[in-house]
């Protein structure tokens, strides 16, 4: 037992072995620079960070000396602490443990580590230092595996553990991880881990029930972080929103995709049908694996898929619930003392299958995490872009946006659709101006990305005209069942991009006649706009007279073209090849006069009063003139000049 008050302070710096100090003289200054009694050479420590003082009643107190990074106990910043029990603190990047007796210090050591080698040296009058050997990975070794890591440790770093993931990303040169929850960009070494010890509950961002998050300084040899209770922790979290990021999502760069649409435009049904069909289509036809990155995150979507596609009662009238603005589709966090609702992302891992013809070549480039969100339509209404409701901020990060246009909500479309018994077309069914939603979406993107007025985004905008089972008779041709075919050259299917472009052009023409404001709004924003028809369910829903709800019978669900927007998205990224030029079927091109003005080609067609207007994004593709059997191709710019 000590004769005079003393305490033991163990310092765990990243990359260095722990050092234990016995403090017997007070005040004992702790800081980064020489002159302090305990020097911690870490840049996150202030020059004078804290002081241990002895009070009149022989109690030892630790005081923060207005340090930059503070002293944290259980993720709470403290300015004074009585050292009357074992304390595990964080000062910047450094872990500090305080105990009153040496026995407590030894107990602390033995909880975390299996074997110790103790050397006691006296290098100061006031403190004694204990040097310890540890069989584990340090933070520096994880971040830089070549640094002092022996062969055994390097072997562990090649596995599938969180530490291995962090090590690989750190070594890849990839800068920044984007959180799929809050879109915060951070460096790999800022990853937090989720504590597992039962005493470490209560997170300042996620609430009283959540496990604490922490910045690890040590990892087990299996590659898991060690929390303050000495428990191995494999789960990683964002340093800002503290929400869990699946390991696979951090390893593969994300591909964000936004689905936008008015209320009751069918976003949830579209998302459900699309994900279900993609699971089959991609692997069967394109040698691409499309799987849930994390079953927990995708649980709700999986439930939706079961309701529609795996329902044991094929004749029951089922419905997906209306998407809410809070609840299970969102994570609630406390940031800057505000309750913020962040949409839960649905994440899918997209990788080439081993039998992909260019597997070795594209394996790294194609291995991505696809991130989708099912926002409530209300979120896209004007005035709903609030600081506490950043649920549509994913628009900024998405390379491609799917805008769901519902013709059953447009009065002009409804007048043209006849002979269809669909409750959504009933006289009392509500209508809505949907280009307002599109405008609002555009304004938000411009506001937050600093785009100049009048400039266009590089994002691709795909306008998905939904519920085509109701309105497809307005098109002058039959839609093929699937726009891909087998190509023996690649041993997989290839996408008929010309067909897709042609159908887009025809649909654009139809929309220009019925709701031109939609086309002009879309094309004033994005350089490439594609218009695609689809039907998430394949047939009209029914009205349940008992409860007044609209439902669908699982036995009748037959999605149509729900995967095509995503296939085009993958084609743009080089994941799916198009039909080789030499194998394309071409019609005889008619000789039309074409004139380029700005970004529109004016194509004079005999018999038409006004020339056809064709955006630049259609150059190079053979298109059919609407209402005729005549075909034409707008040549590529260099060909045109010739």
């Amino acid at each position: 037992m000590d004769e005079f008050p003393s305490c033991y302070l163990r310092v765990r710096c990243p990359g260095l072995p722990p050092v234990v100090h016995q403090v017997t003289q007070f005040p004992c200054r702790i800081g980064r620079v020489d002159g302090n009694e305990i020097v911690i050479r870490d840049s996150s420590i202030s020059s004078l960070h804290a002081v241990l003082i002895l009070q009149a009643n022989n109690l030892i107190q630790l005081e923060d000396q207005w340090s930059t990074n503070g002293i944290y106990l259980n993720a709470r910043r403290v300015s004074q602490l009585l050292v009357d029990r074992t304390l595990s603190l964080t000062m910047g990047n450094v872990k500090v443990d305080l105990t009153v007796t040496q026995e407590e210090m030894h107990q602390l050591e033995s909880k975390v580590h299996n074997s110790t080698t103790v050397k006691i040296t006296r290098d100061r009058d006031k403190t004694s230092t204990v040097m310890l050997e540890r069989p584990s990975l340090t933070r520096a070794e994880v971040l830089n595996p070549d640094l002092k890591a022996n062969a055994m440790k390097k072997r562990f770093l090649m596995g599938d553990s969180p530490a291995a993931t962090i090590s690989r990303i750190a070594g890849s040169g990839r800068r920044g991880i984007v959180c799929p929850h809050c879109w915060h960009r951070f460096d790999i070494d800022e990853f937090l881990f989720i504590a597992r010890h039962q005493s470490l509950i209560g997170d300042p961002v996620l609430g009283a029930d959540a496990q604490q998050r922490f910045l690890p300084s040590r990892f087990t040899l299996e590659g898991n972080a060690l929390d303050a209770g000495g428990t191995s922790c494999p789960d990683m979290a964002c340093p800002r929103c503290h929400l869990r990021i699946p390991q696979a999502a951090s390893e593969m760069p994300p591909l964000f995709l936004s689905i936008v649409g008015a209320t009751s435009s069918g976003k949830s049904y579209f998302l459900t049908s699309m994900s279900w069909e993609l699971r089959n289509t991609l692997s069967r036809n394109f040698a691409i694996s499309f799987a849930d990155t994390d079953a927990v995150n995708n649980q709700l979507l999986n439930d939706f898929e079961e309701t529609l596609f795996l329902n044991s009662d094929q004749e029951a009238l089922v419905a997906l619930r209306k998407t809410e603005l809070q609840g299970e589709l969102y994570n609630q966090v406390l940031l800057d003392n505000m309750m913020i609702n962040l949409p839960k992302p649905f994440m899918f891992t997209v990788t080439p299958a081993e039998h992909h013809p260019k597997y070795q070549e594209v394996r790294d480039k194609m291995s991505r995490t696809l991130v989708l969100y099912d926002n409530a339509g209300e979120h896209f209404e004007p005035g709903m872009d609030l600081v506490d409701n950043p649920t549509t901020q994913h628009l900024l990060h998405s390379d491609t946006i799917f805008f769901l246009f519902d013709p059953t909500k447009d009065v002009r479309f409804r007048r043209l659709i006849t002979g269809v018994d669909d409750p959504q077309l009933a006289a009392k069914a509500r209508v809505q101006r949907q280009e307002i939603i599109l405008t609002e979406m555009i304004n938000r993107i411009k506001k937050y990305s600093g785009m100049r007025t009048g400039s266009r985004t590089g994002k691709t905008l795909i306008v998905i005209v939904s519920k085509c089972d109701v309105w497809k008779q307005l098109l002058e041709f039959d839609l093929p069942k699937e726009p891909w075919r087998w190509e023996s050259m690649y041993n997989t299917c290839v996408l008929d991009v010309n067909l897709i472009k042609n159908i887009s052009f025809q649909l654009r023409h139809l929309l220009e006649e019925i709701c031109p404001e939609l086309v002009s709004t879309a094309e004033s924003f994005a350089g490439e706009v594609l218009y695609l028809p689809n039907s998430a369910l394949g047939h009209s829903p029914e009205l349940n007279d008992e409860n007044g709800m609209i439902g669908i019978r699982p036995g009748k669900v037959n999605p149509f073209w729900v995967t095509v927007p995503m296939l085009y998205f993958f084609y743009q990224r080089g994941f799916i090849p198009p039909i080789p030029v030499e194998n394309q079927t071409r019609m005889q091109d008619a000789d039309f006069e074409m004139k380029l003005s700005g970004d529109i080609y004016f194509v004079s067609v005999p018999g038409r009063q006004k020339p056809l207007q064709v955006p630049l994004s259609y150059t190079g593709w053979q298109l059919r003139c609407p209402g005729t059997d005549l075909w034409f191709t707008i040549p590529e710019p260099d060909q045109n000049e010739q």
Binding site: P382, M549, I550
Partner: protein
């Protein structure tokens, strides 16, 4: 002054341009920060899907939360439940929240208040509009009768004392009460809370159908269905108190609360004055923090300056 907010899916909301899930009514003058918190408390997770036969058995969530997010402590009483199809023919819910301050607390406690007829809305068919006057809070106390719901559900009215006894021993203990749909958790919690002295009743936060904890609040008494995910996590924590109404309850330790639950208490006259019927809130004791003794010479330390 008690404020209220009604949230549901409607063709037109109270704020211009809003529709679908939105606020359809709130007390005039309610602060935007309070609006945000109340809307955030409007989540509901259905136990049964809209097309399932048992859809009518979806539990109603009655809750009492205490929040400091407005810069002072306030109580929020809420009722959230599924409601008939909205104007688009899709599922809907109705959330009614009442925000009140300590001086408005009736003696009966939050559960007594929640059970008063007409206190909460159970349907909404009106146009969106402002509520001109603050909500009137009834005064009174529970009759303190026998815990009949507990007797009906568990066979022994004395089991109502389980929650109350635990609260008296450990006021911050979280309890999970496992129930089957169809059980009246509101009555169960009400009878348990009535066993506590009036001054303690408003310290108990609860949810009669608990699925997740909103950030910034705590919930002591949590009623969960057996298959709830939150319950699976709680079962892994040896410190979690779980009382399973669908199974065996722990043996009762006989005490005054158990006796009270079994026999009820004699009826007491309700105080005449309204002030007397509010819970007397003891004045807060000011805490003085002793400054650390600066007897040591700090002059030889480095000057304190802010660092980048």
């Amino acid at each position: 002054m008690a404020l209220e907010l009604v949230y549901t899916s409607a063709e037109r909301g109270l704020r211009p341009g809003t529709r679908g899930y939105c606020t359809v009514a709130h007390t005039k003058g309610i602060a935007p920060a309070a609006l945000q918190i109340l809307e955030a408390l409007s989540s509901y997770k259905s136990l049964y899907a809209v097309h399932e036969e048992q859809q009518a058995d979806n539990p109603i969530s009655y809750s009492h939360y205490s929040s400091n997010l407005l810069g002072r402590s306030v109580s929020v009483l809420s009722r959230v439940s599924p409601s008939p199809a909205d104007h688009t023919g899709r599922s809907n819910k109705l959330a009614h929240h009442v925000l009140l301050h300590a001086r408005e607390y009736p003696v009966g406690g939050p559960l007594w208040l929640s059970q008063q007829p007409g206190f909460f809305l159970d349907n909404w068919k009106e146009e969106a509009h402002l509520l001109e006057l603050p909500k009137s809070i009834p005064v009174g106390d529970s009759t303190g009768g026998k815990a009949e719901t507990w007797e009906q559900v568990t066979g022994d009215a004395g089991n109502a004392a389980l929650l109350a006894t635990l609260f008296q021993k450990t006021p911050k203990a979280q309890v999970y009460l496992v129930f089957s749909p169809g059980m009246s958790t509101l009555s169960l919690l009400g009878e348990a809370l009535a066993l506590l002295p009036p001054a303690s009743r408003w310290q108990v936060t609860y949810n009669t159908y608990f699925t997740s904890l909103p950030v910034g609040v705590n919930c002591l008494w949590r009623c969960c269905v057996p298959e709830a995910e939150i319950l699976r996590e709680a079962r892994r924590n040896p410190q979690a108190q779980i009382f399973d109404l669908t199974g065996k309850l722990p043996p009762l330790e006989e005490n005054k609360l158990v006796e009270l639950a079994r026999n009820g208490r004699p009826a007491q006259p309700v105080p005449a004055s309204e002030a007397a019927e509010r819970v007397a809130v003891p004045p807060k004791k000011k805490k003085f923090m002793l400054l650390p003794q600066r007897s040591v010479n700090m002059l030889n330390l480095k000057p304190r300056k802010r660092e980048d």
